[in-house]
């Protein structure tokens, strides 16, 4: 590969520095209409009245859409992967988060679109919202969805479970148990380019959609499913995304633009404001993670119990996938023979959460490494040595029964120590990821080198 190790100029670099890179908002199609959405001001409410006639009658308004205009209103982002749909494109009887879109208007200019949204008659009956995932399982917690407080389609279970080995015995045998609670919070992606979409009806009957999505084919599928159109009726044009970081996988504007464009028979653009980005766009999820490690006093981790609550916001979106990824990584770079993992996708009346850089993995990695440091502190051991001892090696199995072929835990931890000027003891300096033997293979780890657990 000629490129590896070479310093190549970015192929889009010259366009970036000369202002020639085209983002969705830079595409110019004559006759393009402006879009504004009617969004819920309430965290949780029933919609008791919705009347768009005054808005539709306004001069300059070319189309208004509500749930009634969407051929398949409730379509889950991961429906193709078997995750049941629970989120409407436009709210019907309920709104479950502040900012949830209920209707959208396409008009000749921004001011008219805004005025039309204000002219939509709507009434709500507010409900008590739930914002703390820890309270979601209380019997008197607000019921966001009729089926219960969490996403419940993990096979026969209502949460992601891993069971490996004999966790009870591990905790009985422990010299010390170290517990920690870790609560990484929501992060707003805040790309400098706001969500922007432009849908253009073609004379052929197809729709061309200019999109800032991070997943072109994915968003194409979502729009086609909502609109019940065959895929070949849609042409997606992507290009440079002005920052996404995971937040532009949500197909946030394309479907609404497409529906408005079909109804108005005009090109329609929707560019979110920075306030909409902060208040209504999806974020990285907040998590509540509890870890308890059963430890020997010389620094072996005999077993780990993990409880994870993932704040999915008002709808599932991609959260079921996040918790699954989270589950795979909850032992971190280390081999732990006895495992009890329970991960829940919990609903709250927040904006639905989504992917962000390392979706599901960053949160658990943070918790795992904090826990490892805590373990070392409680045991009075060197934090590097504790990590190196438990670090995964060739032939070790993970909690989800993957047999590791070439884990980089050992060299990476050694490199970390070197990078910050920590001198490791000779024994630890000389470690490699070769298969465990001798002192690195105590009895309790024998089961992890041979497959002996089960994943529910």
């Amino acid at each position: 590969m000629k490129a590896v190790g070479a310093r190549l100029p970015r192929y889009d670099g010259v366009a970036h520095v000369t202002g020639r890179t085209v983002y969705v908002d830079d595409v110019r199609v004559p006759g393009t209409l402006w879009t504004k959405a009617l969004r819920s001001p309430h965290l949780f409410a029933a919609v008791t009245k919705l009347d768009t006639r005054k808005a539709e009658a306004m001069p300059g308004v070319r189309a208004v859409i509500t749930h009634a205009d969407v051929p398949t209103n409730v379509y889950g982002h991961l429906a193709a992967l078997g995750v049941p749909a629970d989120e409407p494109l436009l709210a019907e009887d309920e709104v479950r988060y502040r900012g949830q879109p209920i209707a959208a208007v396409a008009a000749e200019d921004e001011e008219t679109a805004r005025a039309a949204v204000d002219a939509i008659e709507i009434e709500y009956e507010e409900r008590e919202p739930l914002l703390d995932i820890r309270k979601a399982f209380d019997p008197d917690a607000p019921k966001i969805h009729p089926w219960g407080p969490c996403y419940s389609h993990y096979g026969p279970h209502d949460h992601r479970r891993i069971r490996k080995g004999d966790i009870g015995r591990a905790f009985e045998q422990a010299d010390v148990v170290v517990q920690g609670v870790y609560r990484p919070q929501a992060i707003e992606h805040c790309p400098i380019e706001p969500q922007t979409g432009l849908a253009v009806p073609e004379p052929s009957g197809r729709l061309t959609i200019y999109s800032c999505t991070q997943g072109m084919y994915f968003s194409l599928g979502v729009v086609a499913a909502h609109l019940q159109l065959p895929l070949n009726r849609l042409k997606f044009v992507g290009g440079t995304v002005g920052g996404g970081f995971g937040g532009k996988v949500d197909t946030a504007t394309e479907t609404v633009c497409a529906l408005l464009a079909l109804k108005a028979k005009r090109p329609v653009k929707w560019r979110w404001t920075r306030e909409e980005e902060f208040l209504c766009s999806s974020t990285r999820a907040p998590w509540h993670i509890e870890i308890a490690d059963a430890l020997t006093s010389d620094g072996w981790i005999l077993g780990r119990k993990t409880l994870t609550l993932h704040d999915s916001g008002a709808y599932t979106r991609f959260s079921s996938y996040a918790v699954t990824k989270h589950a795979f990584h909850h032992a971190g770079a280390y081999t732990i023979p006895n495992i009890e993992f329970d991960g829940y996708v919990v609903f709250t009346n927040r904006v639905p959460t989504t992917a962000m850089r390392g979706f599901g993995v960053t949160s658990i990695s943070f918790a795992v490494e904090m826990q490892m440091s805590r373990n070392a502190e409680v045991l009075g051991l060197d934090p590097f040595e504790l990590r190196l001892r438990n670090a995964s090696r060739i032939g070790d199995t993970t909690p989800n029964l993957v047999v590791l072929k070439d884990p980089s835990s050992v060299p990476v931890i050694q490199a970390m120590a070197k990078e910050i000027g920590v001198e490791l003891a000779a024994e630890y300096r000389g470690m490699t990821n070769a298969p465990r033997s001798g002192e690195l293979l105590p009895e309790h780890l024998l089961s992890s080198v041979a497959q002996n657990g089960k994943e529910d």
Partner: protein, 259 residues
Amino acid sequence: MASEVLLPTSPAEAVAAFGDGAGVTVLGGGTIVMPEIAYGRAALGRVLLLARSGLDQVTRSDGAVTIGAAVPVAALEGGDEPLASAAAHVGDPEIRAQATVGGNLCAGPGGEAPRGDLQAPLIALGARVRSTGAGGERVEPVEDFLAAGGGRLVLDVSYDAPDAAGYAAAWRPHAHHATILAAACARSGGQTRVAVTGAGPHGLRCPSVEQALAAGADAATAAAKVLDDVDPPDDALASAWYRKRILPTLVQRAIEEAR
């Protein structure tokens, strides 16, 4: 939509155009009004642009300073304290070059951040505002102007350069500052004036602190009295609890700097 846009080319024209201020929106640099327009929140009426009004003069004579309403905030950097420190932390250089002293003085409590960072320093300096509006021209202390609630066109502010000054603030940790809380202090001869930013809807004078200092209290004792003068709010930037905890310390530092 603005019903009319007025662009006076002299102070006298600006005064005439403003009249009694009914139905008039004043646009100084635009840093406050233009976002309101962009977000569809401005009820504009007749809009008076000060860009060419000639209200952008700074005059200094024997320590008496007069700053026109349309003087950019950037012009105060490197000038008299505590104004200079407050000005240097407004937005970034581009914002400071465009935002005006008059606009900052008239900034209403905006969203979740106090926006009138120059108000407290001007109060501490004992500055007087010359304004026009219903009833004609008027000169009054800044704190009285702010308490009266607006609706007037600021023409200029004047103060006498102090003997010493102090400024202590808590900012969001970023180059692009949002001031959470600030204490401004200026001393001339035996009199010390103290005012704070971020403890109310606009800059507020602290008479209890000033009286304690006048009665001979030390900086810490006097500073503790600030909570008799203000009731800081809860907002997205900081809780009332946090503000109450650190405000006396900021006031103390400002007083000590002005020794």
